[in-house]
């Protein structure tokens, strides 16, 4: 038995009858159906979108999508998108939609990160009811986004609970007469923030979850050492926790930024992009252009490709600090004088073992 375990695994020989094909050829043949399926699933829709983006195709054109060349448009759709902006803040063009999306992403993810981190730090210590509260805090992210949209649609009614709470708590502070009526969803200066609030409510728990899992995995010996040496909490946080958490924070922010950039469900349900265009984010813009208001699938494809390029560039740029952090941590493990690029897996394992 021992001998069997210790011996090298016996190499499987190919059964006879493969027509003398090499092992590599057979392997390629075996994975070919899967690969073809992947090509169909991933590449085909992408190719169709790229093709349609060069046309002015609409399903109401009277011909099918593969005949879209009849309305060949070259880069007309891209040009139309790129030159459309409109009046600042209220305009309905592509760039204003991008601008609003960036506002939602920066504010939404920023607040989610801050709240999520604060909650995660609070939940690091044990206290009675912690596990129950953890589950409660995670509930919002389990709600279907469309339902979140509907919940906040009800909350933000002028005579809804949010204004009711404002009236109760701030009536005297604001010297208000009667019920406070904040038109959350119909004031162009406020409506976008209502959408951001809904996003924060739903996705702070995810940020909390990721950051909490990062915090609990931090090496306790270093934190204990700092504590014993008399480091204040702020110093521990600044010089130990934050640097060690940095890659996790980046990952959490990237995940949420990419998701928020595509925000649609709650935005559409709360305001349908209005009043006017005041809350038209990029996904809402796309939906309005392709299904809700018109069927400009050619133009919509061009906009979708522009968005894909933007998000990809953003992701590439955002991933760079993670790679740098990884390189740095491995570099520290094997010694500062060893260039990170040249570190092999064996060296890293050896260094870790030394520690």
């Amino acid at each position: 038995m021992d001998a069997e375990i210790q011996s090298k695994p016996r190499r499987l020989s190919w059964p006879a009858g493969l027509g003398g094909r090499s092992e590599k050829t057979v392997a390629q043949l075996l994975i070919a159906p899967g690969q073809l399926l992947m090509v169909f699933i991933v590449l085909f829709p992408a190719a169709v979108a790229i093709y349609l983006a060069f046309t002015d195709f609409q399903p109401t054109s009277g011909y099918q999508w593969f005949d879209a060349y009849k309305g060949w448009h070259w880069f007309g759709n891209y040009w139309e998108a790129l030159k459309s902006g409109g009046v600042f803040w209220t305009g309905g063009g592509f760039w204003m939609a991008v601008f609003r999306t960036v506002i939602v992403t920066v504010l939404g993810v920023g607040v989610e990160l801050t709240l999520g981190f604060a909650l995660a730090l609070l939940f690091l210590k044990t206290f009675p009811g912690r596990s129950v509260l953890t589950v409660v805090f995670l509930l919002p992210m389990m709600v279907v986004p469309a339902v979140t949209g509907f919940i906040f649609y009800m909350l933000f009614q002028t005579q809804g609970p949010v204004n009711g709470a404002l009236t109760f708590f701030l009536h005297d502070v604001l010297h208000a007469t009667g019920h406070i009526h904040v038109p959350w969803l119909s004031d162009p200066n406020i409506a976008l923030f209502a959408i951001i609030l809904a996003d924060i409510w739903q996705w702070t728990p995810l940020m909390f979850l990721i950051l909490l899992s990062g915090l609990v995995s931090l090496p306790e010996d270093q934190l204990n050492a700092a504590r014993i040496l008399g480091a204040r909490f702020s110093d521990q946080f600044r010089y130990l926790v934050l640097p060690m958490m940095w890659p996790i924070i980046l990952i959490a922010v990237i995940i949420r930024a990419i998701e928020t950039f595509k925000i649609f469900d709650s935005a559409w349900l709360l305001t349908t992009g209005g009043p006017g265009d005041a809350t038209t984010t990029i996904s809402v813009f796309l939906y309005r252009q392709t299904i809700a208001e018109t069927t400009r699938w050619g133009f919509g494809s061009a906009v979708a490709i522009l968005v894909l390029i933007m998000v990809s560039l953003l992701a590439l740029r955002a991933i760079r600090p993670i790679e740098a952090a990884q390189e740095e941590s491995i570099g520290e493990l094997v010694g500062a004088d060893v260039e990170a690029e040249s570190v092999s897996l064996e060296q890293a394992i050896e260094a870790e073992a030394r520690l």
Partner: protein, 562 residues
């Protein structure tokens, strides 16, 4: 494509579907008990029903067709009103279907996409003793209809799927009047001219046809001069008002003292409307002068009612060569008035829709509001429209303007439920599908359907508005007023490709004007610019030709009272 309403306010407050009855255990025991009792007492009193000569004759009369008729429902008092002879639109359709099915020996099955809240009018027997409409069709012709139910919210996307995939699985599709241009140009709708010429529907018939005659037919069923759909609804905008407020002697006296003229029973001009609305609005919010909607998707039709009355007989949306006219003085004035009307409606009206409006009207919080024609149908015990003020509501045609010595008053219709033959479906069944629509949409059958509370298709025809069942449901005063409103109804932007796009551009800019993001002038200028882009994209000549053909759908009369 159909306009989507993805928001909660998309719920049109129309009558809930009664697509079937649930039969619970309690109901079963109750009926079983009753049946048992019937058997027991029947045994005592005798097993046969005691017929008298008159009751037997009445029973037989109810279950046979009236003399000269070849088809129609039986089994209830008054059924003969819905029966038809061979030389009627319904009769020709039935005879055509019988020929196609070889008198039922070669049955046909048709698939019909329909809103789930409306299907009951075709599948639920009404009144007591009557068959269901679809059952009668099958019995008379051997044509079986398979209903594929859908919600109004999803219907637009489903049609788009059908169009983009050229899906011929359904024979009859549910559309709206604003879709006809796009779907006809997309080749999804079968041109029905050939069948119309062959079977002569009664749509323009003075007795059985649409109120408004040929003009309404052009509005409802035609695109670019050809028939592409058949109307099954009447989404006319009706002004509902509290008659007690207008009849109140003190109000009349105070109004005259303030404005220097008499308070009419309902305002005849927009100026009078605005004065009355301001007069009735109370600062404490207990009464608002006018609750016409301003919210996205639904509010623009109230702007249209003001706009189209700026010229006699009508102020059109487009001029020659499809040039936009909304940036004219008429458009800017209508926009200014639309914005000003925020002063006499409830707070945050932009996020309010039909449910709030119907409830506010029923609770007596609104003096006037533009509503669907079904509003009076909902004045039933316990409904939102009968919270104390239902009996005080009356209906009227929208106010208008004096133009060249003539009073121009126009309502505007919304999308309206239409049915069309799917051009991608089996072409051998196109004729049968059309004939089913001609039959079900005929004066006789639709009058029978419109009175059925199991669905929300509203009446739009003369015979329907005279029908006792419909009048009982919609109230006699409202039925009579509809006879005035329908012939004076102007189209929305319809009968042209991209109708929904033009409408959305207008709606978006109206929202900007209402929320002070843009002035009325710049909002209308932006609308005109957007319309020009749309027109150029679809081809100016083609758009201009369709708009020109659509002029037949505009009313020209000035008759407002019976």
């Amino acid at each position: 494509m159909e306009k989507q309403d993805p928001r909660p306010e998309r719920t049109i407050p129309e009558e809930p579907a009664q697509t079937g009855r649930t039969f619970g255990r309690a109901a079963f025991l109750k009926s079983a008990g009753a049946a048992g009792a019937g058997i027991a007492f029947g045994g005592v009193a005798g097993s046969a029903k005691a017929w008298t000569r008159s009751s037997r004759n009445a029973h037989l009369a109810r279950n046979r067709l009236a003399s000269g008729n070849i088809g129609g429902p039986t089994g209830f008092a008054g059924a003969e009103r819905y029966q038809y002879g061979a030389d009627t639109a319904a009769g020709r359709a039935i005879l055509g279907l019988k020929q196609l099915t070889n008198n039922g020996k070669k049955p046909i099955t048709l698939s019909w996409r329909i809103w789930n809240g409306a299907v009951g009018q075709l599948t639920v027997p009404f009144p007591k003793g009557a068959p269901a409409v679809a059952a009668l069709l099958e019995k008379e012709t051997g044509v079986k209809v398979k209903f594929i139910q859908d919600t109004p919210n999803n219907n637009g996307q489903k049609n788009l799927q059908t169009l983009s995939t050229r899906d011929g699985g359904l024979n009859i599709l549910q559309t709206q009047i604003t879709d006809n241009g796009d779907f006809a140009e997309g080749k999804m709708l079968r041109n029905l001219d050939e069948f119309v010429a062959k079977y002569r529907p009664d749509w323009a018939d003075p007795k059985w046809g649409y109120a408004g005659g040929a003009t309404t037919v052009a509005l409802m069923n035609k695109y670019n001069g050809s028939v592409y759909s058949v109307s099954f609804d009447g989404d006319y905008q009706v002004w509902v008002y509290r008659v007690d407020l207008f009849d109140n002697a003190q109000n009349q006296k105070d109004f005259k003292a303030k404005y220097g003229y008499e308070l009419n029973d309902f305002p005849k001009t927009w100026k009078e409307h605005d004065d009355a609305a301001a007069f009735f609005t109370k600062p404490d919010g207990s009464l608002y002068g006018s609750g016409d909607l301003k919210n996205p998707f639904w509010g623009y039709v109230n702007w249209m009612m003001r706009y189209v009355t700026a010229a006699a007989p009508n102020q059109h949306y487009f001029g020659p060569a499809a040039k936009p006219l909304v940036n004219s003085r008429a458009g800017i004035t209508a926009t200014k008035e639309h914005v000003a009307s925020l002063a006499w409606t409830y707070p945050d009206t932009l996020s309010k829709s039909w449910p709030e409006q119907y409830a506010a009207m029923g609770a007596g919080q609104l003096a006037m509001a533009s509503m669907f024609s079904n509003a009076t149908k909902f004045i039933t015990k316990g409904s939102p429209l009968d919270k104390g003020f239902g009996s005080k509501l009356r209906t009227a045609l929208a106010p208008g303007r004096m133009v060249g010595g003539k009073l121009v008053r126009r309502s505007v219709i919304y999308f309206n439920a239409q049915f069309a033959v799917n051009a991608f479906s089996n072409s051998k069944l196109h004729e049968a599908a059309y004939l089913v629509l001609q039959w079900a949409g005929s004066g006789q059958i639709f009058s029978w359907m419109a009175g059925n509370p199991a669905g929300y298709f509203d009446p739009h025809g003369q015979s329907q508005l005279n029908d006792p069942l419909v009048r009982a449901s919609y109230k006699p005063y409202a039925s009579d007023e509809l006879k005035v409103i329908i012939p004076n109804t102007a189209p929305p932007i319809a009968g042209v490709r991209g109708a929904n796009e033009y409408t959305q551009a207008l709606d978006t800019n109206l929202q900007k004007a209402l929320t002070k993001q843009a002035s009325p002038e710049s909002a209308m200028a932006a609308t005109a610019a957007a319309w020009e882009k749309i027109t150029n994209r679809y081809g100016r000549a083609k758009q201009a030709a369709a708009i020109s053909a659509g002029l037949a759908a505009w009313p020209t009369g000035y008759k407002y009272h019976l």
